[in-house]
């Protein structure tokens, strides 16, 4: 595989050239006085933070229902964010043509709740912080793809710290064209390598009840999940999670009910609905005020169910989401 050697300066120059076109935008991380956050840059690049050790929101979240008309949006995000953007393209929730998706090698992250003063943005510093912290997010500890090998192009880190801009398709070539230099063969081993395989997720309802005992059913987990996009979510009406009079009716019919009710219903249905598109980013857990270990369940179930169809969410935009397609000759023992 070939790529271009770049550094922070070349990237800045290239992105500024891209932004000099009035229709172009860059979505990435920005250093803010009090930490780091996503930012859409227009006209010129502000305080871009290519690497940072904090995760708050999955950036693909901002792409939902973004249908640009001629504008171009360049994403410079973590692999799990790029993967979610790819799923949103497949779900026609965002415009494929207008997006240039660039995944940046990820070393893992701490929760944004654990952000402290001073933002390290050098990958070495970040690696040190993560290695010495016990608070690396569960999603990152079990991350399936930390390499910037998804989307149209990637920013990869060599073992010696060299940054590489690597194109994966035509749009990626366009992106790499923003930087001066020649294409060279990439070193065989990069800093961030392939993830190790994990055991299939296994649990039971006793463990579930224990883990979700403190859930207050605020649904923040759903609201911040990048791939949970339905405007008309089944949980908004009275059919699945009745409220008010509908709740009273249900209690008169069904009897004593502990509140909030419907935790299994809500989480298991959501788990199934996102089972093929979940990218295991842990944005749900990040959004949860009660510290529920959501990643363990959502990532665990989704990896297990994606495995049935040799599917990995967000890996390839041409791959159809398994529930939206089929093979005639498959799953012979599915029926009883």
């Amino acid at each position: 595989m070939k790529g271009k050697r770049v550094d922070k300066k070349t990237i800045e120059v290239g992105l500024n050239q891209f932004l000099s076109d009035d229709r172009n935008l860059v979505l990435g991380f920005a250093k803010e006085p009090d930490g780091v956050s996503h930012r859409i840059f227009k006209n010129e690049l502000g305080p871009l933070s290519l690497f940072n050790p904090y995760f708050g929101i999955n950036g693909a979240f901002f792409l939902r229902r973004m249908f640009s008309k001629g504008q171009k949006l360049l994403l410079l995000l973590r692999p799990c964010e790029i993967r979610a953007s790819v799923e949103l393209v497949k779900l026609t929730q965002t415009e494929r043509e207008s997006i240039i998706a660039v995944s940046v090698d990820c070393l893992g992250a701490l929760s944004s709740k654990d952000a402290s003063d001073g933002l390290p943005d050098d990958y070495k510093e970040i690696a040190d912080i993560l290695a010495s912290s016990e608070k690396v997010r569960p999603a990152c500890k079990t991350c399936k793809e930390r390499r910037g090998i998804v989307g149209n192009a990637g920013i990869r880190v060599g073992q010696d710290g060299t940054l590489w801009a690597v194109p994966y398709d035509e749009k990626g070539v366009e992106f790499c064209g923003l930087f001066a230099g020649d294409n060279e063969e990439l070193p065989a081993a990069m800093l961030v390598g392939e993830a190790t395989k994990t055991e299939p997720f296994l649990s039971d309802m006793t463990e579930f009840s224990k883990d979700f005992a403190k859930c207050i059913m605020c649904m923040n987990c759903r609201d911040m999940c990048p791939v949970c996009f339905c405007i008309d979510c089944v949980f908004n009406g009275n059919d699945y999670l009745p409220k008010g009079d509908a709740l009273l009716n249900k209690i008169f019919r069904g009897g004593t009910t502990s509140l909030p009710s419907g935790k299994e219903l809500f989480h298991l249905i959501r788990m199934f609905h996102v089972s093929q598109t979940c990218v295991g980013c842990g944005a749900c857990e990040e959004a949860c005020p009660q510290g529920i270990p959501l990643t363990k369940y959502f990532k665990g179930i989704s990896e297990r169910l994606q495995g049935m169809f040799s599917y990995t969410s967000g890996r390839n935009v041409e791959e159809q989401i398994p529930y939206l397609t089929f093979l005639e000759d498959e799953l012979k023992d599915a029926a009883d």
């Binding site: 997720f201 309802m205 089944v234 298991l268 788990m271 297990r304 089929f326 005639e328 029926a335 009883d336």
Partner: protein, 139 residues
């Protein structure tokens, strides 16, 4: 008390396609074949209409088991609906397996003429769940 009685008569909610399995259940009735009264059937226009959310809702709101029944693969009234059903329900079963509850969900292929097959399938499921419940009661 109510709990006890409920355990003796398992309740099973079945989602049956109106072009095949539901017809088979009606034919079973007109042929005077019997199947357990705890089996409640919901008619759906195609087995692929069943969002697994329906099945999850049935199970967590009181049913001891749930099944989805459609036409044999290749025989769908809408050409390919049941191929989607097969993927979705196979995945749903896999999810329930991860929670050690996969016995509660079944997928049946039953054509409109297979009244006997329909009765056999649901009876078998009923027995299995009843035995499971009784074991649970003993333990």
């Amino acid at each position: 008390m109510a709990e006890e009685a409920k355990k003796d008569i398992p309740e099973i909610v079945g989602f049956a396609c109106s072009f095949c399995s539901f017809k088979a259940s009606e034919m079973a009735g007109s042929l005077r074949m019997k199947y357990p009264e705890g089996i409640k059937i919901v008619q759906v226009p195609c087995s692929s209409r069943v969002d697994p959310a329906f099945v999850i809702k049935a199970l967590f709101e009181g049913a001891d088991g749930a099944f989805v029944a459609g036409c044999h693969p290749g025989d769908c009234h809408f050409i390919k609906g049941n191929y989607y059903t097969r993927r979705k329900i196979a995945a749903l079963k896999e999810m329930f397996k991860a929670f050690s509850m996969d016995k509660k969900i079944k997928l049946f292929w039953v054509s409109a003429s297979e009244a006997r097959r329909f009765v056999e399938k649901v009876e078998h499921m009923y027995k299995e769940i009843k035995e499971g419940n009784n074991e649970g009661k003993k333990g």
